[in-house]
Symmetry: C2
């Protein structure tokens, strides 16, 4: 994703899956696609080893609120509690400063 102008908002989602969260991957993939279509969506990064960290970026707190209350996302949140996660943490943060760096030998 291109670095947005600050300030923008980040939703930090840190999670641990249950052992038998078999439909999780399908739902996670669908939620990323759905998030990308929402107003005010800026980008997403998702990495998983023992824990998962997903950071989605948004233009405003109201965009985050709209996404949180989106009907299909709410269904996914319910499944998250009933079937997928043993733990999660959500943090809503305002990004004040951001910068990025590429190794010049490898930059496209």
């Amino acid at each position: 994703m291109k670095l947005p102008e600050t300030p923008y908002y980040a939703v930090i989602f840190i999670s641990e899956l249950r052992e038998n969260a078999s439909d999780y991957g399908k739902w996670a993939e669908y939620m990323v696609k759905l998030a990308e279509d929402q107003p005010g969506f800026l980008g997403i990064h998702s990495v998983r080893d023992n824990q998962g960290i997903t950071i989605s970026y948004w233009e405003s707190e109201s965009a985050i609120h709209a996404w949180r209350t989106h009907a299909e996302h709410q269904l996914a949140q319910k499944l998250g509690k009933s079937d997928f996660y043993r733990y999660y943490k959500v943090e809503i943060a305002r990004v004040e400063r951001a910068y990025e760096w590429w190794n010049s030998a490898e930059k496209d």
Copy 2:
């Protein structure tokens, strides 16, 4: 980590390693240990697959500034550019709201 009272600060560090970043693991581990000893440090989460996401949490922006300018951390930052990373992004964010959830069947 126990959830701190908001507001607190997060440094989101997203990175991609070069193929031959052989000393990276040792340095990364040492930097986590060193960060944990700094004033104002609250916690850290780190996950890596193709990308790495490390989120460190701090009491204040001045604690983040002190850590950024810590001599050994500065050496690590130089090695990061010369030897380890092909890309990284840093975001400084103020956490406004946070909550966590455990599956009650699995909570300790």
